[in-house]
């Protein structure tokens, strides 16, 4: 079966992007190179096509109640225009997906989900909506989505796209009318830099992409999206969160609101939180310049204690780091080793955040 294409596919090809299959789409992994694209986001501004992500709009009298039922964070009494990150879990606490939810209006929420999980999420959301007075609309095919990220993102969005955003606070969203189009803009992202995510029709997104590129914004592929998110400690579904890695194991308990009456997975997660988990995610910083990769073994005193979920030679700072799922007996400051091909490399257990975020709050 042929992969799907976003509304910007031809523009990526024209820019000479290396295209790869990702989540059922053909997506650009890089244009000029991952390192230059990564640095552009940290120091200036980069634009990502993230139109492959899925949009689900939930509305109706029970919208708030339903979102709270399927989502670990708490949207009760949330003001219109706020954005929350959280996880959708199975009854056993495993993650179906992680996502941001925007409160667009009273009784109206927008969920933005991972491309690779789209069908599964649709099914899960539909299946669990019985008995709720809600309307669920899967809008992915109608929306394009750009992430404009970096210290100059605000200026570019204001001046190049003419979308007012200076006064939009961190993790807030607003709807703007542009000619005949309705555009949704949130001050959110997946890079650890200030920036915006902009939802619009395919025509609007194509035009906005061209304007941004023409104004000198760097086109950025999924390659640097991963290096950027990894440096600041964001999880990627499939690596740091999965049906087997719960939010508690992933260190994301702050996004799980146990004081809610109920939500799918509450009992299992509560049990993990109280009794502890067998394995959890930890950061590891290697002493030397070797590169830990997904699946490499983590050892303590020669005994296997876990494996790497993601690892890189960092780009923003000179360090080789990994996030690994390891036995809970492994604590911060412990010395461990990572098996890389025939050799083992020593390192120290550290927090999962290897580089500081730079937000405008």
């Amino acid at each position: 079966m042929q992969n799907k294409r976003t509304c910007l596919y031809d523009k990526h090809v024209a820019l000479g992007a290396q295209m790869v299959p990702f989540g059922g789409f053909d997506m650009p992994i890089q244009y000029a190179g991952i390192i230059d694209e990564h640095n552009a986001v940290r120091s200036h501004c980069g634009v990502f096509d993230v139109s492959h992500m899925g949009e689900v709009v939930i509305s109706g009298r029970d919208a708030e109640k339903f979102v709270n039922h399927i989502f670990t964070n708490d949207v009760r009494g949330l003001e219109v225009g706020k954005v929350l990150y959280g996880i959708m879990c199975y009854p056993d606490g495993g993650a179906v997906d992680d996502m941001c939810i925007c409160k667009l209006d009273n009784d109206m929420f927008l969920m933005t989900i991972n491309a690779a999980n789209m069908e599964k999420d649709y099914e899960w959301i539909r299946k669990n909506s019985d008995g709720f007075d809600v309307v669920i609309q899967f809008e992915s095919e109608h929306y394009g989505l750009l992430a404009v990220q970096g210290p100059e993102a605000e200026q570019k969005v204001e001046e190049v796209l003419n979308i007012p955003c200076k006064d939009l606070p961190f993790y807030e969203v607003r709807t703007v009318s542009k000619f005949d189009d309705t555009v949704i803009i949130s001050r959110t992202g997946y890079t650890g830099e200030d920036g915006f995510e902009i939802y619009g029709t395919h025509d609007f997104i194509r035009d906005a992409w061209d304007k941004l590129i023409k104004s000198g914004v760097t086109p950025c592929g999924l390659g640097c999206r991963d290096t950027l998110r990894f440096e600041v400690g964001f999880p990627l579904y499939g690596e740091e969160l999965s049906k087997d890695i719960t939010p508690v194991m992933a260190g994301l308990s702050m996004f799980v609101k146990f004081d809610k009456d109920e939500f799918i997975g509450k009992e299992a997660l509560q049990k993990q939180k109280t009794e502890g988990v067998a394995k959890q995610l930890r950061g590891i910083e290697l002493d030397e310049n070797a590169i830990p990769r997904h699946g490499y073994k983590v050892l303590k005193d020669g005994r296997e204690v876990g494996e790497v979920t993601t690892g890189y030679r960092l780009i923003s700072v000179e360090k080789s780091c990994a996030v690994a799922l390891v036995d809970s007996s492994i604590k911060l400051g412990d010395r461990v080793e990572i098996q890389i091909r025939k050799k083992t490399f020593p390192g120290t257990v550290v927090k999962k955040k290897f580089y500081d975020k730079h937000y405008k709050k």
Binding site: Q18, I29, Q30, G33, I34, I35, G223, D226, T227, N289, A290, I291, R293, Y312, R313, I315, I340, R341
Partner: protein, 126 residues
């Protein structure tokens, strides 16, 4: 279009062999560095290590992936290119000028099984 140099031997896993007498310099081709993207680490063997043809002798790692180095010929390591320890990106700048290891060839007849520049060019175009 990736650069290919005449007079070298090429493997299907994109290593090249530049023969000098009984010795040879082994590296990765321009096609390989281009496909890999930004090289950030080169895992090299030690001097005096010996390996057989097609055996792994290290890896070249780009930001996103590790790619094994397979020995295009059997040999014993005489020298490793230490410059790559500090500047792995030299492979992106000029893959042919920056060899990875120098070996003493064990069996020169193995060279006949490798591709010449014309055959390799055709192989990459596939």
């Amino acid at each position: 279009m990736a650069k290919v140099i005449e007079g070298l031997y090429y493997s299907e896993s994109h290593e090249y062999v530049r023969v000098e007498g009984d010795c040879a310099y082994i590296g990765i081709t321009d096609y390989a560095q281009h496909a890999l993207g930004n090289v950030v680490y080169v895992d090299m063997p030690e001097v005096d290590d010996e390996f057989e043809i097609e055996e792994g002798f290290g890896a070249v790692e780009s930001v996103k992936a590790a790619s094994d180095l397979n020995a295009p010929v059997s040999g014993k390591v005489l020298e490793v290119n230490e410059a790559l320890e500090d500047e792995p990106e030299l492979l992106n700048k000029d893959a042919f000028a920056n060899w990875i290891i120098k070996v003493e060839l064990t069996d020169k007849s193995q060279l006949e099984k490798l591709m010449d520049s014309k055959a390799y060019e055709a192989f990459c175009a596939q």
